[in-house]
C-alpha cells in the first residue's frame, strides 16, 4: 500500500533522516522504534508532506501515486490520518469533541444529519457514548480524549493512519485497552498503521514489522518475530535486552 525507498529528510543544511525504506501492506502495522531524537517523528511528518523529503521511489496505492524525487504533498487527502501523542494539544480546546471529530469529514461536504450519524458511529467504534460528542476536551480523561482523536482519524475511512506515540500520554490500563481496540480496528477494516513508539512492549505485541532508527539511520528493518529472535545487530540486541530486564516485554517475547 505504502512503499518508500531511501527516504532522506534535510532541513536547513542538516540531515535529519537518511536512507530509511519502509513498506506497509493493508491491515498491517509497522512500528518505528528508536530513542528520542532518532528521527522517528520526522519520518512520518515527511511522509505526510509536512516536512520536505526526497526518496528514490514512492508508491501510495489508494490514490495511485508512483513517483521518485521529492515527496508528494499529502496534506488534506482523505486517505491518510495522523493520531498524535498529546490528545489535549491535538484537540481544539474550544471545540466540542463531536465537532473535532466531524472536522475530519470537511472535504466530503456531507449533509448535516449524515455527518452527525457518522460522528456517532465513529465514537461508537472507539467505545465512547454519543454524549461525548457534546463534551469539551478538558471535560474528559486523557484516554477518552485520545479515543476521540482515534475516532477523528477513523471517521473518514482512511487507508493509512500514522500514529505518533499514541499511548505514551496515557496510564497503563488505558494504554492496553486502546492498543487492543486499535489492533481490532485495523484487522476489521484493513487499514494500515505506521506507529512511532518507544514502547518496545507495544511493538512486541502488535507490530507486524519493526524498523529501528538511530540518529536518523535505519539500524534494522525486520518482521517482529525476526527482530526479537534474531536482532539484526548489537544495538537492537542491547535495546531488546534492556526492555527485557525492565520487564517491559510481554511473556511471549521473553526468551
Amino acid at each position: 500500500m505504502l512503499s518508500v525507498d531511501n527516504l532522506t529528510v534535510r532541513t536547513q543544511g542538516k540531515t535529519l533522516v537518511q536512507g530509511v525504506s519502509l513498506t506497509v501492506q493493508p491491515g498491517q502495522m509497522l512500528c518505528i522504534i528508536g530513542e528520542s531524537g532518532a528521527g522517528k517523528s520526522t519520518v512520518i511528518k515527511a511522509l505526510q508532506g509536512l516536512m520536505p523529503g526526497t526518496c528514490d521511489h514512492f508508491r501510495f496505492d489508494p490514490i495511485g501515486l508512483d513517483l521518485k524525487g521529492a515527496l508528494p504533498d499529502m496534506v488534506g487527502l482523505p486517505n491518510t490520518r495522523w493520531v498524535m501523542q498529546d490528545p489535549l494539544a491535538a484537540l481544539d480546546p474550544r471545540f466540542r469533541l463531536g465537532r473535532s471529530v466531524a472536522e475530519s469529514l470537511h472535504r466530503l461536504n456531507l449533509p448535516v444529519d449524515e455527518r452527525l450519524s457518522r460522528v456517532k458511529s465513529a465514537l461508537e467504534t472507539v467505545e465512547l457514548g454519543p454524549e461525548f460528542a457534546d463534551r469539551f476536551p478538558t471535560e474528559v480523561s486523557m484516554g477518552q480524549a485520545q479515543r476521540a482523536c482515534l475516532a477523528r482519524a477513523m471517521i473518514a475511512e482512511p487507508r493509512l493512519i500514522f500514529f505518533d506515540e499514541p499511548l505514551s500520554a496515557l496510564d497503563a490500563l488505558v494504554q492496553k485497552k486502546i492498543a487492543r481496540r486499535m489492533d481490532e480496528l485495523r484487522r476489521q477494516t484493513g487499514m494500515a498503521y505506521v506507529v512511532v513508539t518507544h514502547d518496545l512492549g507495544f511493538a512486541a505485541t502488535y507490530a507486524d514489522h519493526i524498523i529501528l532508527l538511530r540518529q536518523g539511520h535505519m539500524e534494522a528493518s525486520q518482521t517482529r518475530e525476526a527482530f526479537f529472535i534474531r536482532p539484526a545487530n548489537a544495538y537492537a540486541r542491547a535495546l531488546i535486552d534492556a526492555a527485557r530486564n525492565l520487564g517491559a516485554l510481554p511473556e511471549s517475547q521473553v526468551a
Partner: protein
Amino acid sequence: MRAALRRFLRRLSLAVTCIAGAVIAGLWLTPYDPAAADFLDRLSPPTAQHWAGTDHLGRDIATRLLHGGLWSLGLSLTITAFGLVTGTLIGIIAAQSGRIGDFAIMRVTDSFFAFPELVAAVAVAGIFGPSTVNLVIALMIVSWMKFTRLARTLALTTSKQDFVTQARLNGLSQARILLVHILPNILPSILVLGTNSWSRTILAISGLSFLGFGVQPPQSEWGAMLLDGKPYMQSAPHLMIFPGLTVLISVLAINLAGDRLRDLLAPQSM
C-alpha cells in the same frame, strides 16, 4: 472553570447594565442642564439640591459628571474598539504573511510604538488645533500597535499547535483555520488587553482634556472639569474631588474586571 467564567460574565453584564441604567436614569431625572450657568449659586458645596455641588459657573457638577461620563467612556471605548479590531487584523496578517511581510509590518508597528500617546496627541492638536475629533484621531493612531504585537505572537504560537496541523491535514483552507481555530483561541487574551487599553484611554482622554488639548468647553468631560476646577482648588475643592474620584473609580473598576477576566481565561484549562 467554564462555569466560573459564565458566572463572572453574567455578573459583569448585570453590573454594566445597572451602571448604564443609573447613568441614563440620572440624565433623565436631573432637573439641571449640564451647560446652564447659574451665577447666583456659584461654587456651592454639596447640598440636597446639588449632590456634588456646583462649579464656578453655577453648573450642577453631578449632572456634568454624568454627561462627561458618556463622553469619557464612549470615546475611549470607540478608540479602544478601533485599536482592537485594526490591531488584531494587522497582527494576524503579519503572522500569515511570511518572513518578509511579517518583518515589514512589525517594523512599521515598532516605529508607531516610538510615539508616546501624549506626544502624538499633542502633536496632532498642535497641527490641527485642539478639538474632540483631533483628540480621537490622535489616540486612534497610537491605539492599535499593542494589539498587533499580541495578536501576531498569539497567532504564530497557536498556528504551531497540533490541532491546527490536524485541521490542515483535514483539508481546511487557511482562511477557515484562521476563522474557526486561531481567532477564537486568541480572542480572550486580546479582550483582556482591550479592557486594560480601555482604562488607559480614559486616562489619556482625561489627561489631554485637562491639558486643554482634548474635549473643549462647554462640553463637559472629566479631565476638562478637573481643569475648570483647578483655580478653585483651595476654596472649593469639590470641583476637583468629584471628577477625580469618578475617573479613579471607573478606571479601577475596568482594570479589576479585566484582571478577573484574565484570571478566568488565562489557563488554557478552561
